[in-house]
């Protein structure tokens, strides 16, 4: 019988300890959190700098010079305005609140932001961070530290570069979705499932940034018209600084070299001898990258196999009735792609941005060479400029659609 009294003892134990546990320290109701859904970062202008208050430090006593100040624009969900369940028509109030603050660092700006908001800022639902090109070119590293230390931040949040100032993205009111930042986030998230952009989220950006043999890349957005946003290329980095961008079609080329299977881009290919073109769309790709040393110099040979589909032809004069013409188109496509790849690689070599991760191949496959000659990221970026390439592209058109001619 006596051991049965244990429960009472346990209850007493907890009873005694309850005064100890006097509180729900971390309890913070969902409606008392200011859900920051998106953040845009710009370089603060002269006028905006003046607005800084002495919140996290006394002015003139901060080691970072004034020029480096940033402006953070945050989009915060207004709880009452986003209804539960199916949306009723006629909700005229704005569902989100957009606030601009300035600060020396990201955390500084967030602290300033908190000063303006009654509820505690909550970054757990931060879906997208927009950096303006200006900020990206001056270096992203100083934001990363805060973002990585904070456990609330999702590693799967998106990070994008904008051509215009990032604050404009926060203020856009898209037609398709009630909450602007969610539209923006979905837009970016869907890019990779549509094959328009390689997988890209903030965690991946960090991973690539910290590994020695590659440089990060991010989507580059541009505002078209009043409220539509377009993926306008790929921003590539040297270290943490953005050094250039590609045009949208080159993203497909980049994905091919990087070995991302899902194809999404189509390009017009001129049919030989016909002076007409057809739209060939990549369905999937297969890439093999081989790294060797030629006379002690690093050399990369890339072999890409395309599986494509003809989506559209321009005029009736081309007859897609026999396979010979397809073969010609295949050859032409391969040639085009090869030329584009070479061009893209050249331009990245010029900027010392190895976004393709060739360095990783050298590090993994030729560790002796790497340990002897490279070792650091800076060294690799130097070497990358002089890497020679050997590219082979093979296209197979498997489908032509429902039309027989």
């Amino acid at each position: 019988m006596w051991q049965n009294l244990r429960e009472i003892k346990v209850a007493m134990l907890f009873g005694i300890l309850i005064p100890l546990l006097s509180g729900c320290w971390d309890s913070k109701e969902i409606e008392q959190r200011a859900n920051v859904l998106a953040i845009g970062v710009d370089i603060a202008s002269e006028k905006e700098r003046k607005k800084e208050d002495e919140i996290s430090h006394l002015s003139k006593k901060f080691p970072i010079p004034d020029e480096e100040m940033i402006k953070v624009t945050a989009q915060i969900a207004v709880p009452g305005e986003i209804p539960l369940g199916p949306q009723q028509p006629g909700g005229s109030a704005k569902p989100v609140l957009v606030i601009e603050v300035v600060g020396h660092t990201f955390e500084d700006a967030i602290l300033n932001l908190q000063q303006e908001i009654a509820d505690e800022l909550f970054l757990g639902h931060l879906r997208i961070i927009v950096l303006s090109e200006e900020v990206a070119r001056s270096g992203t590293n100083r934001f990363n530290d805060f973002l990585r230390r904070n456990p609330e931040i999702r590693r799967t949040a998106s990070l994008v570069i904008s051509k215009e100032s990032a604050s404009r993205y926060m203020k856009i009111v898209p037609e398709l979705e009630r909450i602007p930042s969610l539209y923006l986030a979905d837009l970016v998230d869907n890019l990779s499932s549509l094959g328009k952009f390689p997988p890209s989220f903030i965690g991946l950006f960090w991973t690539i940034y910290s590994s020695k043999g590659q440089d990060p890349y991010l989507p580059y957005l541009e505002i078209k018209g009043k409220s539509s946003i377009q993926l306008n290329g790929l921003a590539y980095f040297h270290g943490d600084k953005m050094v250039g961008k590609t045009n949208p079609l080159q993203i497909g080329i980049f994905m091919a070299v990087r070995g991302i299977g899902r194809g999404g881009y189509g390009a017009f290919v001129e049919v030989p001898d016909k002076n007409e073109s057809v739209l060939v769309r990549a369905v999937s790709r297969k890439t093999r990258t081989k790294v060797t040393l030629k006379n002690g110099k690093p050399h990369v040979s890339i072999k890409i196999q395309y599986e494509s589909e003809i989506d559209e032809k321009e005029s009736a004069s081309i007859q897609l009735s026999d396979s010979a013409i397809l073969e010609k188109i295949e050859k032409a496509t391969s040639k085009n792609v090869k030329a584009s790849i070479e061009k893209l690689i050249k331009s990245t070599q010029k900027k010392k941005a190895d976004i393709f991760g060739f360095g990783e191949h050298f590090r993994g496959k030729l560790p002796k060479y790497w340990n002897k000659n490279v070792k650091t990221k800076e060294k690799w970026n130097e070497i990358y400029q002089n890497v020679t390439f050997d590219i082979k592209v093979d296209t197979h058109i498997h489908r032509v659609g429902m039309k027989s001619k």
């Binding site: 049965n4 971390d26 109701e29 859900n35 009452g80 986003i82 539960l84």
Partner: protein, 555 residues
């Protein structure tokens, strides 16, 4: 725990000479041979009762005797026809024979009386007890012994469908209050000499008959002995229901979890007996108590076994889910809302925040309030007469729920969560087990309010550890999950087809393990082959020896 144990107080008891004490004084004193004296003694003890009847008559017209009985307890018809008539009219075959007084009892018992339950008894206290149980006592002048005849007739309820354990498939019989009927219900399903019923009397006042039923050769002997031992140590004035016994024989009375299972269904009892458990029946209670139990049987029903295996397994999975729901759903909600909203999809999180915007309390308090309201509502609905109950539940659910949301007392999602939880707790077939989980929901909720998901986890670990440390008559409570037992595992999450379970679960340590025999399985195969052949085989599968014994009495 000396603090909690009340100190023994000694005070003088008032000396009142109650009838029971009088009987006690007369213990083992043989009845007097004088009819008047015996009658006097009986009247002294029971004379106050209006339903005590003493009828004087002459046996065979010559020996004066008295018939004593409680009119409320006996079958008067039987007394008139089967006792008084044959005794008063001298039967033909006895006419003219010499009937000495000394042999009178013998003659009456063997040649005269038409009643099957007639015995001879000598002590007054015994006789009184027999009378109190509804027997008729015949005292004869000049004889020290008396005859007592079982004429008990108490009105009983008809066998009806059990109210607490309804099934769609399966038998409709339920136990009733009368223990003889209950044992009959069991015996009719188990016509085997192995089925044994041991009886004992517990309760100083009620003297309730307690029957221990088991299958010899299947139930573990040590468990039977342990049951008998624990039962025999009970010393209480009254046992009114099997639940009284449960509290005395369970291993850990402070645990929220039931360590015995009570059921109203004879088929369930039989199924458990066959698995090697012991059933305890009490006169006056329509429930049988099954020991030893393990946790998983609380979410099993007999229906699982009578339906096909896919169906049974699916329903059981749903029930397990409901069980989990009823335990942790509100606390998960609390921790998601107040601690980790980042786990919710963004769109939903923002919407939930909107729904909660007007609620003044933290989620824990809100959930606790609604939960307690729900508990009260549930209890009220159970107690109310059926006609009013329906109305109340409508008022409770619709009006209060709707009004609470509109008044800003709770958010719509909270109402959804609580409703799901409450429904989940009703899906557990065993009332006691469902109750345990319903109770434990509250401490977990409070832990969730303090620590979020971490607190929920702590609570669950605590509950699991407690369950793992429980034992019911030597059987670990969480068997066969842990300690794991391959045979038993087949019947935990899914209900495997019956032919997959050829052995009885090992955790009950049954004396005989095999459930299916090799031969029976072959009969099964044979039947299936017979299906293919269609014609030609006139006696395809019916050649099994099930029916060859010839005793196909369907009575």
């Amino acid at each position: 725990m000396s603090l909690l144990r009340p100190k023994k107080r000694t005070y003088k008891k008032p000396q009142l000479l109650t009838p029971s004490k009088l009987v006690h004084q007369k213990e083992n004193t043989p009845t007097s041979s004088s009819l008047d004296e015996t009658e006097q003694q009986i009247k002294e003890i029971l004379g106050n009762n209006g339903d005590l009847k003493i009828k004087h008559f002459k046996i065979f017209g010559s020996f004066s005797a008295a018939c004593v009985y409680f009119s409320s307890l006996v079958n008067k018809d039987s007394i008139n026809k089967d006792i008084l008539r044959p005794l008063m009219y001298e039967p033909e075959h006895l006419i003219g024979k010499e009937k000495p007084l000394a042999q009178l009892i013998d003659i009456i018992l063997t040649e005269t009386l038409y009643h099957g339950e007639a015995k001879v008894g000598g002590c007054l206290d015994d006789l009184i007890e027999f009378m109190l149980r509804g027997e008729t006592v015949i005292i004869m002048d000049g004889l020290k012994e008396a005859i007592h005849i079982g004429t008990r007739k108490v009105d009983k309820r008809a066998i009806a469908q059990p109210e607490t354990e309804q099934v769609i498939l399966g038998p409709r019989e339920g136990f009733i209050e009368n223990i003889a009927t209950n044992v009959a219900l069991l015996r009719y399903r188990l016509p085997t000499p192995d089925f044994q019923v041991k009886t004992m009397k517990i309760g100083r006042l009620t003297k309730s008959t307690v029957a221990i039923c088991y299958l010899k050769g299947i139930a573990n002997e040590t468990v039977i002995k342990e049951v008998e031992k624990r039962l025999s140590e009970i010393d209480i004035d009254a046992i009114l229901d099997v639940g009284y016994l449960e509290q005395f024989i369970e291993d850990n009375p402070f645990s929220p979890f039931p360590q015995t299972q009570s059921t109203e269904r004879p088929d369930k009892t039989v199924a458990n007996l066959i698995e090697g458990r012991v059933a305890i029946l009490v006169d006056g209670s329509p429930f049988s108590l099954l020991v030893p139990v393990v946790f998983n049987q609380f979410y099993q029903t007999t229906e699982d076994y009578s339906s096909r295996f896919l169906m049974g397994s699916f329903v059981r999975l749903a029930r397990i889910l409901a069980l989990v729901f009823s335990l942790i759903f509100p606390s998960l909600y609390v921790s998601l809302i107040s601690f980790n909203p980042e786990l919710l999809p963004t769109e939903f999180a923002v919407a939930v925040a909107g729904g909660r915007a007007g609620v003044p309390y933290p989620a824990v308090i809100e959930v606790l309030i609604i939960e307690i309201a729900m508990e009260i509502l549930r209890e009220a609905t159970v107690r109310l007469p059926k006609q009013v109950g329906g109305a109340l539940s409508i008022v409770g659910v619709l009006v209060i729920g709707q009004a609470a949301v509109e008044a800003g007392l709770s958010s719509p999602i909270t109402v959804v969560v609580i409703a799901l939880t409450t429904i989940g707790s009703f899906a557990t077939p065993t009332y006691t087990a469902a109750f345990a989980l319903r109770m434990l929901r509250f401490p977990i909720m409070i832990l969730a309010g303090i620590f979020g998901l971490y607190g929920v986890m702590i609570g669950i670990i605590f509950i699991f550890n407690h369950m793992l440390s429980l034992k019911s008559f030597g059987v670990p409570y969480m068997a066969p999950v842990s300690p794991s037992d391959y045979q038993g595992m087949k019947d935990v999450v899914i209900r495997s087809p019956l032919w997959w379970m050829p052995k009885r679960p090992d955790f009950l340590h049954p004396a005989n393990q095999s459930r299916l025999t090799e031969k029976d399985n072959k009969v099964l195969e044979h039947n299936k082959v017979g299906n293919d052949q269609r014609e030609g085989t006139s006696n395809g599968g019916s050649e099994g020896d099930h029916n060859t014994s010839g005793n196909n009495n369907l009575n």
